[in-house]
């Protein structure tokens, strides 16, 4: 799994946000590939664009790793509460797009698996 960059300007909450995207990318990547993930991510950025103009400017990427690194930079460049709101809107939109394509039940199943993987790994890290 890809890991979140730490570093100056990034709170612990920020790392948590990015990690959730990396888990999502790790879960969906094998299924839809880098191009599929980046295409959906790009579309989600466009949809939330009217509210978060800076997200709409996200450059198209070829791999999910670079896509999330780009998001990491974007979220780090705004105030934490603004980053949290944008992250929530983006994740909700991404999920809605997935719901529309494969139905909420299957989408939930895939996304829950991403959540479970994250929890398992966090548990192992605590041990």
């Amino acid at each position: 799994m890809m890991t979140s960059k730490g570093g100056p300007g990034r709170s612990e909450g920020h790392a948590h946000l990015i990690d959730s995207w990396r888990r999502l990318a790790d879960q969906l990547g094998p299924l839809i590939g880098d191009s599929g993930f980046c295409a959906m991510f790009g579309r989600a950025c466009r949809v939330v664009g009217p509210e978060y103009k800076w997200l709409a400017d996200t450059a198209p990427c070829k791999t999910r790793d670079t896509q999330i690194n780009a998001l990491d930079e974007m979220l780090a460049s705004v105030a934490p509460e603004h980053a949290l709101a944008a992250h929530a809107a983006l994740l909700r939109t991404f999920t809605e797009l997935l719901d529309a394509l494969i139905g909420p039940a299957l989408a939930r199943r895939l996304l829950d698996a991403a959540g479970r993987d994250g929890d398992d790994k966090n548990e192992q890290e605590r041990k």
Binding site: D34, S35, L98
Partner: protein, 487 residues
């Protein structure tokens, strides 16, 4: 005891397919599912996967440069066999598109092996394998590399004890598919036959190593439940045809609902017989069939009516409508006009088994051709043969009608030599006499039983068909101009 290895058979879960395969898929086999785009390859593969997958038999589905995975999931989940609870735990999808764009056969193989080692599947699917072959061919690799890759893949999958399915847009004649066909243990070919606006799907097991499969093309349909195959085989023989089976000495007689006809048949129609009632339009064939069903209902028997008409005009008959509404008679009436005999038999058999019907009326064989796809239309005799074989196995007594125009120059009993398939024949005709168009009938044959040879006049009234209790006094009925014997 034999030391030979026993091939484990996996039931595909696709109705009818195991019959074609000779009992199921051979475990650890390396298979190709081939066919043109739209022929149902991905659906067949998914149906097999969801039928076989479980926690101790996991499935890995590699998608390549064909249908985008999300769209595939979007459409495949519409089928009833798609079990979402299996996705993730028992069934995992992996996209190979990027590996394929980036690398060569060895890169693709190492990615496949990495996923196989990680998930330990017992079932592996690669859809579409043609993308793998074509993408690699765009590089510097040729047919020899492809064959080597396939062999390597086959060897590794077998070593992992995985039953493998390569899915590809190949036709049987494709040279490009040859290396795969050579290596594959099994090959299932799907196609669509387009003829006069009708499309019939066909499935063929081209090869299946180590087991006696059923050759030839067989019809299949795709419905909301997925693929259903109709093996082109006759039903098993009745028990009495087998050695040691009971032999019925006294065949039960079935009342036709026309007392005088029962007397001509020496007690009724032998149980299990198929009676052909042939005659021109207006002779009373449909009324004959209704009488037969009504008599069954009176005796507490269920019936099935198979209608091939432009609509349910037969149900305008109040008596029949009441029998249908009461649930004593079930109607099989297709609204499709590219029907195959397999589908018709499937519905007819299911209806008879569900209702426990003892009597079946098919009205009429003349119009059956209008409902059949061209393939069946041109082979009406074979269609009727298969239908009667299936009904004989169910031990029902059948009345089937057939329209026959009199030309009064020769005695025709049926169209398309169908008379030879019937166990009994009642022929109806018109004859002119005294300024009237009179009706006559005769029992032409009854297999295994004597019968009257009278040519008898009959009338039709509100109660149905009434037959005069003696042979007609006219001569020349067969020629259409009856004359009294005295003239």
């Amino acid at each position: 005891m034999s030391d030979k290895v026993t091939l484990g058979k996996l039931s595909t879960g696709v109705p009818g397919l195991d019959v074609l395969l000779g009992g199921g898929l051979s475990e650890f086999s390396f298979n190709l599912i081939a066919g043109a785009p739209g022929s149902g390859k991905t659906t067949l593969a998914h149906q097999i996967m969801f039928s076989l997958a479980r926690h101790d038999r996991r499935a890995l589905f590699f998608t390549v440069l064909g249908e985008p995975p999300l769209k595939m999931l979007r459409y495949q989940q519409q089928y009833s066999f798609f079990d979402m609870d299996m996705v993730g735990s028992c069934v995992r999808y992996v996209n190979l598109a990027e590996d394929l764009r980036a690398g060569d056969f060895s890169g693709v193989l190492s990615r496949i092996m990495k996923e196989v080692e990680s998930f330990s599947p017992s079932l592996v699917f690669v859809d579409s394998f043609r993308s793998v072959a074509q993408t690699a061919r765009a590089g510097n690799e040729g047919v020899a590399d492809l064959q080597s890759f396939i062999q390597d893949l086959g060897t590794r999958m077998t070593s992992w004890q995985a039953t493998t399915f390569l899915i590809g847009e190949y036709l049987h004649s494709d040279v490009e598919a040859n290396p795969i066909m050579t290596v594959a243990d099994g090959m299932i070919s799907l196609s669509q036959m387009h003829d006069q606006n009708s499309v019939i799907r066909k499935i063929r097991v081209v090869k299946m190593r180590g087991q006696a499969h059923l050759a030839g093309s067989h019809t299949f349909r795709i419905t909301g439940d997925g693929v259903r195959v109709y093996p082109r085989v006759l039903p098993p023989l009745a028990d009495e045809r087998l050695s040691g089976g009971d032999v019925e000495e006294e065949v039960q007689r079935i009342a036709t609902g026309i007392a005088d006809l029962d007397e001509m048949l020496q007690g009724g129609l032998p149980q299990g017989h198929a009676l052909l009632v042939a005659g021109p339009s207006g002779a009373g064939k449909t009324i004959f069939g209704n009488n037969f069903l009504r008599e069954g209902v009176r005796l507490g028997e269920k019936g099935v009516a198979v209608f091939f008409e432009k609509g349910s005009s037969s149900l305008r008959n109040a008596g029949l409508a009441r029998m249908v509404q009461a649930g004593d008679v079930s109607v099989v009436e297709s609204r499709m006009i590219d029907l195959t005999i397999d589908e018709l038999l499937d519905e007819l058999t299911a209806t008879i088994e569900r209702t426990g019907a003892r009597r079946v009326v098919i009205d009429s064989l003349s119009e059956l051709g209008l409902y059949l796809a061209p393939e069946g239309r041109n082979q009406l005799r074979e269609v009727v043969f298969r239908m009667l074989a299936a009904l004989a196995r169910l031990n029902v007594t059948v009345v089937m009608t057939m329209g026959m125009d009199d030309d009064f120059t020769r005695l025709r009993l049926s169209q398309a030599d169908i008379a030879y398939l019937a166990d009994a024949i009642v022929l109806m005709r018109f004859g002119e006499s005294g300024g009237q168009l009179r009706k006559f009938l005769a029992v032409v044959k009854v297999r295994g039983s004597g019968h009257s040879h009278d040519l008898r006049e009959y009338t039709i009234d509100a109660d149905g068909i009434s037959i005069k209790p003696f042979g007609t006094e006219y001569e020349g009925v067969v020629h259409g101009l009856p004359l009294t014997r005295s003239t």
